[in-house]
């Protein structure tokens, strides 16, 4: 019986990503079903030294090792909080549910925060999920497309009568996040090498963005977050500013946001 190239690739891929050992994979009925009637010895050449399982383990072991290492790089704070063994186990489960489907490994962790949030047995999962969200925001800001910030005098050039109706295009690196915990406080302590206990719930708001090729985090007040969120959603300036109290120092905010390069264009008229 011949095995097609596609069947062979499906079988070998199943052996490589199998969560157990290579022998477990060889014995797994779901894996064997991919090449009916064929044993591993029929499909692979007996190696010059050692056995097939050892050779296949180079691929099977390397798969998890490699992808754990990638997510360790992206979610270092989460790993620190959970400890390496728990983090590895979590990643192994994550990869079963969300295998990589992109040529680029910088996309691998996109579903990780939501996955963490769904892990009912994970201790402190609400905080861990928010920490993962923060780290993912850092990754996304780092990898966001290139942009040119709005010129400092761009808003001044808009006639005052039209200011309320303009919309501002947000810098694609700008990530706004609302948390139920002061997650950035914990994250900064971890980055400083002085980790602190997981804090009690307390709402917090954060902007993460890239400026001059560095990723920056800014803690926001709730009303700043509300205005920025409305602008990022594409609401006109007037509608966005209505999210803040009349006494809010919006002029100061916009000066700072402009200096941070959070906007890239002024758009007049409807969306």
């Amino acid at each position: 019986m011949t095995t097609t190239l596609r069947s062979l690739q499906r079988w070998f891929a199943a052996v490589v990503v199998h969560p157990g050992t290579v022998d477990d994979a060889f014995a797994d009925r779901r894996v064997r079903r991919l090449v009916p009637g064929r044993a591993p010895q029929d499909l692979l050449v007996q190696p010059a030294a050692g056995d097939l399982a050892t050779r296949c383990a180079v691929y099977n072991g390397g798969y998890l090792e490699r992808l754990v290492e990638v997510l360790q790089g992206d979610f270092g704070a989460v790993q620190h909080l959970l400890g390496e063994p728990a983090f590895r186990a979590l990643v192994a489960r994550y990869l079963q549910r969300h295998p990589s489907r992109h040529p680029n490994l910088n996309q691998l962790g996109r579903a990780f925060p939501a996955f963490v949030r769904a892990q009912r047995t994970l201790p402190q999962r609400a905080f861990v999920a928010e920490l993962a969200q923060l780290e993912l925001a850092v990754s996304r800001a780092f990898d966001a497309p290139e942009f040119t910030p709005l010129a400092a005098d761009a808003l001044a050039a808009v006639p005052p009568a039209r200011l309320g109706s303009i919309r501002l295009a947000a810098n694609p690196s700008l990530q706004l996040r609302a948390f139920r915990h002061p997650v950035d406080v914990w994250y900064q302590a971890w980055k400083n090498g002085e980790p602190i206990p997981v804090p009690r719930p307390q709402r917090s708001w954060l902007a993460v963005h890239r400026h001059d090729d560095r990723v920056w985090r800014h803690r926001l007040a709730h009303e700043q977050f509300a205005v920025l969120s409305a602008l990022v959603e594409g609401q006109p300036l007037e509608a966005a500013l209505a999210k803040a109290p009349a006494s809010a120092p919006v002029g100061t905010w916009f000066t700072e946001w402009g200096q941070n390069g959070w906007f890239t264009a002024v758009r007049r008229g409807r969306r």
Binding site: L5, V16, L44, E69, P103, D143, A144, D213
Partner: protein
């Protein structure tokens, strides 16, 4: 349109794989490196520091693109978005050519981010020929494919690896990136003669060489790129250099990467081995008399046990500020 002859006639000298840990030294000191090879995926789907560093490096050095996700051997459809991204990146950094591996990296949409072996069958060859042609049509240039390190071989092969490469090159006009370390690792893992392998390489298609270190286990060797090139691989490189008549050469060092100076020193050893290769060629001609045909020597040594190290992949390693 760039031709294979254009690529083959370009001897860029001795290059280095560009690694993030070396960015500061390269940007500050502009060391005298002949050329850099970038890992293509590190500069795709990102618009920040990686591409800005690449812009600066490409302004001062010749650059070549080397990818790990083309998935050329897969039975999944070609990822044309990815291929168009490669082309755009090439235009940005003016890369001399685009290379990837003779392998598959996933199936059913899943990317295993590993270089998985092809069965060397007629069916696989037909499949690859069609896909390599399609990629070359899209990229408007010859694709350069690397012989991978492998740890298993599929049964039922119709060809040896060099025979498969010959057939593929003849049918598509693609280029070859001959990884000398991979030849050595595979020879050891699969029990063939590395020199015989070299004798079967379609040299007219070889565009450049890779060199790297590997790890020795009890029963096999793993292509880890985490240590200096071993003596046996240097010896094989000299042999390949003689057979090729000289090609661009690149050192890969991906894990336990030492400082720039150490890495560069290791790469520059290739210069000495090129000179030695020339001397060896002269001596060989002297022994055999003018007109004698070159015959490869046996270069496959016995495996030596060394401490095991985890296999390290090609991957994105950008450090965030």
């Amino acid at each position: 349109m760039t031709t294979l002859a254009d690529l083959r006639s370009t001897d860029l000298g001795i290059g280095l794989g560009l690694r993030t840990t070396h960015y500061p030294t390269i940007l500050a000191d502009r060391p005298a490196v002949d050329w850099f090879e970038i890992l293509s995926e590190n500069y795709l789907d990102t618009g920040g520091r990686p591409v800005h560093v690449l812009d600066q490096i490409a302004a001062h050095y010749p650059v070549v693109m080397h990818g790990v996700s083309m998935n050329i051997g897969s039975t999944d459809p070609l990822d044309r978005t990815y291929l168009r991204s490669l082309k755009a990146l090439q235009q940005r950094c003016r890369a001399r050519w685009i290379s990837d591996h003779l392998c598959w990296t996933g199936v059913d949409g899943q990317n295993l981010h590993d270089l998985l072996p092809m069965p060397y069958t007629k069916a696989a060859l037909r499949h690859l020929v069609g896909r390599v042609r399609a990629v070359q049509d899209l990229l408007e240039q010859p694709l350069v494919l690397e012989n991978p390190s492998t740890y298993v071989q599929f049964a039922g092969a119709d060809f040896t690896e060099p025979e498969f490469l010959q057939e593929l090159c003849a049918a598509t006009g693609c280029g070859l990136l001959l990884d000398v370390n991979n030849v050595f690792v595979c020879a050891s893992n699969h029990g063939f003669d590395a020199a015989q392998y070299l004798a079967g390489v379609p040299w007219d298609h070889v565009v450049y060489f890779h060199l790297a270190g590997h790890t020795v286990h009890d029963t096999h060797r793993v292509d880890t790129h985490d240590q200096p090139v071993c003596d046996e691989v240097w010896q094989l490189y000299r042999h390949a250099h003689r057979l090729s008549g000289g090609r661009s050469t690149l050192l890969e060092w991906d894990a336990n990467v030492p400082d720039f100076a150490t890495t560069h020193r290791e790469a520059k050893k290739a210069l000495r081995h090129r000179t030695l290769a020339a001397r060896e060629a002269l001596a060989e001609r002297g022994r055999r008399g003018v007109g004698a045909s070159a015959r490869p020597e046996r270069t496959t040594p016995k495996p030596k046990p060394r401490p095991v190290a985890p296999r390290r992949p090609h991957r994105r390693t950008e450090v965030r500020a």
